[in-house]
């Protein structure tokens, strides 16, 4: 057997073993997913949105510098300046958090 035939056989056997290992991994994943992993079905956008997504940009095969333009256009918060009332529970938690932060800062001074 010459060197090239030996190499071909080695590559072929390697491919077979790789395929065997890959299928084994796949089967183990399927079995663990079936028996041990529960509740992986999630609610989708349709469950919470009365209307479909309104697309503002929908371009295929864009050049590599597109990301810069995309983020330049949508990088600003479109809802900036909208004022909202905040529920009391959330305000109470923010107050508690700021007191705890202040306490931590004060403690740092003494340690």
């Amino acid at each position: 057997m010459n060197d090239s035939a030996f190499l071909m056989n080695a590559v072929f056997i390697g491919m077979l073993v790789f395929t065997g290992i890959s299928i084994t991994l796949f089967v183990v994943f399927k079995i663990l997913n079936r028996f041990n992993n529960f509740g992986d079905s999630f609610c989708k956008m349709d469950d919470y949105a009365p209307r479909a997504i309104h697309f503002l940009r929908d371009i295929d095969d864009v050049p590599s510098n597109e990301k810069r333009f995309l983020f330049a256009e949508y990088g600003e918060n479109p809802y900036e300046g909208r004022q909202h009332t905040i529920p009391e529970q959330l305000l109470k938690n923010a107050k508690k958090e700021s007191i705890e932060e202040q306490f931590d800062q004060d403690m740092e001074k003494y340690t």
């Binding site: 491919m15 077979l16 073993v17 395929t19 065997g20 290992i21 890959s22 299928i23 084994t24 991994l25 796949f26 089967v27 183990v28 994943f29 399927k30 079995i31 997913n33 028996f35 041990n36 992993n37 529960f38 509740g39 992986d40 999630f42 609610c43 989708k44 956008m45 919470y48 949105a49 009365p50 209307r51 479909a52 997504i53 309104h54 697309f55 503002l56 940009r57 929908d58 371009i59 295929d60 095969d61 864009v62 590599s64 597109e66 990301k67 995309l70 983020f71 256009e73 949508y74 990088g75 918060n77 479109p78 809802y79 909202h84 529920p87 009391e88 529970q89 959330l90 938690n93 923010a94």
Partner: protein
């Protein structure tokens, strides 16, 4: 504040099966809305709770007077101490437990049935003492959401595959999205419990809490916005990926903004927590207390998984080798099909490898989330 039976002054416990408050002493039962609160004016905004703190994971567990806490429902540690009696803001509403403890146990046990991978000793741990019902705080929000995504995908160009890039941006209005209001519970775990059906929700009445634990929302408005943006991003990204006609589509980068309307509704949703230890690690499996859906990842017996892998490998190799030997023995057939066989094997191998590795990584990630200690670390890391 404990609600007492008007006939015998015994403590009343809410029974999910009958949706009534039942007295364990004299057997009387009442509809929660019929039980009179003698201090209604005083309790209009607040309700009384007993707060326990877990010295292991830092979680706060809240009970009504009728239940004393003996271990942390989040991490299963018994190092839980009574901290204080507290007045808490009343939530706007709640969904009462509809799945009983027995039904929750049945649903979990159904997952063990003919399951060769789950260690047998865990089945023995699925007993009423290890299962606790807890009302988890949620914020139900309506919001406007905008996202811009830069994506990549692979397309065939002749015989080769090339990577293309895509640009998407869109806006959407979402309604009644539940955002878990507890920092201790990972959003990735709570998302698995959905859906909760708001049609069954009731105006908050602390009588429904009797016999269960509860927790109050410990997040700030900033945390709520962050969680809402993350929740919407997960759903939006799933939809955006579908609009790209390519293989192996990935979101390379994205930017998103959320604006929550004025009326986030503070709710409590029912969840059963099954906490157990296996190999000295704590695990928590959750059951939706309204629908009975089970969420979490059970640990597996390593020796069984290794045996399964070895058997599968031997079987697969036997089938492949026998098929190839059959083709090689027929020289004419071998010459004509050999390139296709090689191409087929390499394609099958690559496909199985990528799917298998991605799937196993996902299961390991889910298992780490189920290990309660990691739930805590994960949440702390993500929520800063």
């Amino acid at each position: 504040m404990a609600v007492l039976c008007s006939n015998c002054a015994g403590k009343l416990i809410f029974n999910p099966a009958t949706q009534r408050l039942e007295c364990a002493t004299c057997g009387s039962s009442f509809r929660p809305e019929d039980v009179e609160d003698k201090n209604a004016e005083l309790h209009s905004k607040y309700y009384d709770t007993r707060v326990y703190v877990c010295s292991h994971c830092g979680a706060e567990v809240i009970t009504s007077d009728t239940e004393a806490s003996s271990f942390c429902v989040y991490c299963g540690n018994p190092a839980i101490v009574f901290d204080r009696i507290s007045k808490e803001y009343k939530p706007d509403g709640l969904i009462p437990f509809q799945v009983t403890k027995e039904e929750a146990i049945k649903n979990i046990k159904a997952r063990f049935h003919r399951n060769p991978m789950v260690p047998k000793e865990i089945m023995g741990k699925c007993v009423p003492e290890n299962i606790r019902g807890i009302y988890v705080p949620y914020w139900v929000i309506n919001a406007d959401y905008t996202e811009a995504d830069y994506l990549s995908g692979e397309v065939k160009r002749g015989k080769s595959t090339v990577t293309k890039y895509y640009s998407r941006a869109g806006e959407i209005t979402v309604k009644n999205v539940p955002i878990d209001g507890s920092k201790i519970l990972s959003d990735d775990i709570s998302r698995k419990l959905e859906p909760f059906y708001l049609e069954d929700s009731k105006t908050f009445d602390e009588d429904y809490l009797n016999g269960f634990y509860s927790n109050t929302s410990d997040m700030t408005y900033f945390d709520l916005k962050k969680s809402a943006a993350y929740r919407c991003h997960k759903m939006f990204a799933d939809e955006i990926v579908k609009t790209v006609k390519a293989k192996n589509v990935k979101i390379q980068d994205s930017i998103y903004w959320v604006d929550i309307y004025d009326d986030p509704v503070y709710m409590m949703f029912p969840v059963w927590f099954f906490t157990f230890k296996y190999n000295d690690k704590p695990y928590t499996i959750l059951v939706n207390g309204q629908s009975g859906k089970v969420a979490g990842t059970m640990p597996w017996q390593k020796n069984r998984v290794i045996a399964l892998a070895v058997t599968t490998f031997v079987l697969v190799m036997t089938v492949i080798v026998l098929s190839i030997l059959g083709v090689i023995n027929n020289e004419l057939l071998f010459a004509s099909v050999a390139p296709y066989v090689l191409a087929g094997i390499s394609l099958l191998g690559t496909y199985s490898f990528t799917r298998g590795i991605a799937g196993l990584r996902r299961i390991y990630k889910n298992l780490r989330l189920t290990q309660s200690e990691d739930i805590f670390k994960y949440v702390k890391k993500r929520q800063g």
